[in-house]
């Protein structure tokens, strides 16, 4: 059980920030996990004795399992942890890690840390915003320093880090994933 728990944890982190463990390990959730998501969330809550203090841990788990936090999911969590629903939404919306809407098929995270900014990352965001508007398969996000300042400007495309990105190479990557 430890093993796949670990795998989904990595998968969940892959979209944001960390470029590291992802390239090789990011796989769709195993069927065994997908079918048992409700049970797994329940288990995570019981591990914390349904304590309200564990709200952020539980939200992390829910997002790992379902990809985003739907109102129904938040309602369930609020009931189980005996927290007011408004507090659960308040916490979930405070932290940028939690997504309240489903993500696109692909994600592009542009690092806007100082080193990347100085190297022209803003131009990359413009390209992405122009090409990936509403209805696009690609979710565009920005991150505050992914710690790969030596590779500036950096973009994480579906968990894989692209180093020293130019507008042209970014365009090519977008063409590739369609």
């Amino acid at each position: 059980m430890e093993e796949w728990r670990f795998a989904i944890q990595i998968a969940a982190f892959s979209g944001r920030g960390d470029p590291t463990p992802i390239a090789e390990t990011e796989k769709p959730l195993p069927a065994a996990v997908k079918d048992n998501r409700d049970k797994l969330l329940e288990r995570a809550m019981s591990r914390h004795q349904y304590s309200g203090d564990a709200l952020i841990e539980v939200l992390h788990t829910a997002q790992e399992l379902y990809g985003f936090l739907s109102p129904e999911r938040l309602k369930t969590i609020a009931r189980k942890l005996r927290l007011p629903p408004s507090r659960v939404l308040g916490v979930a919306s405070f932290y940028h890690f939690f997504s309240l809407e489903p993500k696109g098929e692909h994600t592009m995270v542009v690092c806007l840390g100082t080193a990347c900014y100085v190297a022209g990352a803003l131009g990359l965001v413009e390209v992405l915003q122009r090409r990936c508007g509403a209805g696009s398969k690609v979710s565009v996000q920005t991150a505050r320093c992914i710690g790969s300042c030596g590779l500036a400007p950096a973009v994480i495309a579906d968990g894989k880090i692209l180093a020293r990105v130019t507008k042209a190479s970014l365009g090519a990557e977008l063409d590739r994933i369609g």
């Binding site: 109102p71 938040l74 309602k75 609020a78 007011p84 629903p85 408004s86 507090r87 659960v88 939404l89 308040g90 919306s93 405070f94």
Partner: protein, 238 residues
């Protein structure tokens, strides 16, 4: 209970240990400005209007959260504090859409009162003009986000006094917004008891009882016609 003697604005005052500078000052008629504080619920020190200067301390302190100490020398109304307060209130006016002339609270608004006190006749920073909704789904009350100053009094009173915790804050920074339950319309809230405490503590017109708004004023001028006609035709009720 030990008694602490201190000086506020040149007056020698006494307070009980644990009492805040704010409460000692107000009890003696020294009105320190405030927007997030209201007696009866916990303090958060968020509006920064009640900041005071304490001699010997480099930083300004929120008087609503600072307990009195023996020998303290406090100044509540210095030119520096007035300048800061003025700018804070200007920031509030520019942050959302505060139009006193069409507001239900015109004349009884704590924000308006403060602006008058501080002599604010214009705002020097740019208005943000955010586009914000008004929630009129509740049977008796309304919530106008345009007038909300995010003081969180409603959230605290609902949680601490009513015990319902209907309200909380969504998002963060300048995008913060007061929400009921899971961001649903107020009228659809399961937890709201319609007690109206939040409406009473709201310092501005953000939370209001329905029927009091300017736009809700309707005068019935048709009555005159009936009376005049009745007189002319002598249609008396016998």
């Amino acid at each position: 209970m030990s008694v602490k003697t201190l000086e506020i604005d040149g007056k020698m005052l006494t307070g009980v240990a644990g009492e805040t500078i704010f409460s000692v000052a107000w009890n003696k008629g020294i009105r320190i400005p405030r927007l997030c504080h209201i007696g009866g619920i916990s303090d958060v020190g968020a509006c920064r209007l009640c900041l005071v200067e304490i001699e010997g301390q480099k930083k300004l302190q929120a008087s609503c959260l600072t307990p009195v100490e023996e020998g303290m020398v406090v100044h509540t109304d210095t030119p520096k504090l007035r300048a800061h307060r003025r700018l804070i209130v200007e920031l509030l006016f520019a942050e959302r859409n505060h139009i006193c002339s069409v507001c239900v609270m015109n004349g009884d608004c704590e924000l308006q009162e403060l602006a008058t006190e501080l002599g604010i006749d214009h705002v020097r920073v740019r208005y943000q003009f955010p586009s914000l909704p008004v929630d009129l789904t509740h049977e008796r009350f309304g919530l106008d986000h345009n007038r909300c100053i995010l003081c969180t009094r409603c959230i605290r009173v609902c949680d601490e006094v009513e015990g319902a915790h209907t309200w909380d804050m969504l998002g963060r920074g300048t995008n913060s917004r007061v929400i009921s339950d899971l961001g649903e319309p107020w009228g659809a809230s399961d937890s709201c008891t319609s007690c109206g405490k939040c409406v009473q503590v709201c310092p501005t017109g953000a939370l209001f009882a329905k029927g009091k708004a300017v736009g809700e004023m309707r005068k019935d001028r048709t009555f005159l016609k009936y009376i005049v006609t009745a007189r002319e035709k002598k249609q008396w009720i016998e």
